[in-house]
């Protein structure tokens, strides 16, 4: 956090002409609302239907090869990393708001899932993980017999 502030201060002081002046006040206000307030990163949506959970997480710029998904019992772990652009000589950032680094998000699922049937796919920077419920968790139809 402190580092970020320092970075910002340095940017302010850099004497390079900035051809890219921005409506920073408006944008900063909006940007703040975008940041996950509830803590964990990345923000995740979990939905379910009759057969499965679907976990969706926004991980833009990270392809299938950059993400590691593991499941242990009811605990789903998603690990990924993202690195900044490699800069050539004389190249420099004038704005650096996007996140970088190693992340992992641990999600405790409400019920057991079928580990062998978990499917994951990336679509437009959003990771979708489909987790079918374990057989034992599926509703069973009980037939009533007459005596």
């Amino acid at each position: 956090m402190l580092l970020k502030e320092l970075e910002r201060e340095l940017e302010k002081w850099s004497s390079f002409p900035d051809p890219f002046r921005e409506f920073s006040l408006i944008n900063h206000g909006l940007l703040r609302t975008l940041r996950p307030i509830r803590g964990e990163f990345p923000p995740v949506d979990i939905s379910k239907d009759e057969e499965k959970y679907v976990v969706s997480a926004e991980i833009p710029g990270v392809g299938p090869e950059g993400v590691d998904i593991s499941l242990k019992g009811k605990t789903l772990t998603v690990r990924f990393e993202r690195r900044p652009e490699e800069l050539g000589e004389g190249e420099y950032y004038t704005k650096k708001e996007r996140w970088y680094g190693d992340f992992n998000r641990v999600i405790d699922l409400p019920c057991a899932v079928e580990a062998d049937k978990v499917k994951a796919r990336f679509n437009k920077g959003i990771l979708h993980i489909e987790l079918p419920f374990a057989e034992s968790e599926k509703p069973k139809k009980i037939s009533v017999q007459t005596e």
Partner: protein
């Protein structure tokens, strides 16, 4: 000086955007290189068809449309992600070559390459002596 309104659309079809939806500013990196300025924006959920980039006068607007949530999944367990479109406006200097701005979208990340070398408008003002 004629006003040039350059519409850099990388979308094929015109998006029918009401633009009344909730919008969020995407996180952006800007990198200066010798010949270009590179703008990178995180816009998960957006592809080349749903992003709209316009440059009007010196205002560069980046707009990304997000399709409404998938209707198939009825039950929501958690809902942390923000729903809404992306929008952010930048002011671009005359140094930018407006005709050769390039945009690509991959894995929900928009990359705009803005080449330097536009006409820097200098206007010479004649000074005439009073007769």
């Amino acid at each position: 000086m004629a006003e040039t309104v350059k519409d850099i659309k990388i979308t094929g079809e015109g998006n029918d955007q009401g633009k009344k939806r909730k919008t969020y500013a995407p996180a952006v990196d800007i990198i200066e290189t010798k010949n270009n300025i590179l703008l990178i924006a995180d816009m998960p959920g957006v592809d080349e068809k749903s992003v709209d980039i316009t440059l009007e006068k010196n205002l560069l607007t980046v707009y990304g449309m997000i399709a409404p949530a998938i209707p198939d999944y009825s039950g929501t367990v958690t809902d942390e992600r923000s729903a809404g479109d992306y929008q952010r406006v930048f002011r671009v200097s005359d140094e930018i070559d407006r005709e050769n701005i390039k945009a690509t979208v991959k894995d929900g990340v928009l990359r705009l390459v803005l080449p330097r070398g536009g006409n820097v408008m200098t206007k010479k003002i004649e000074v005439t002596g009073e007769a």
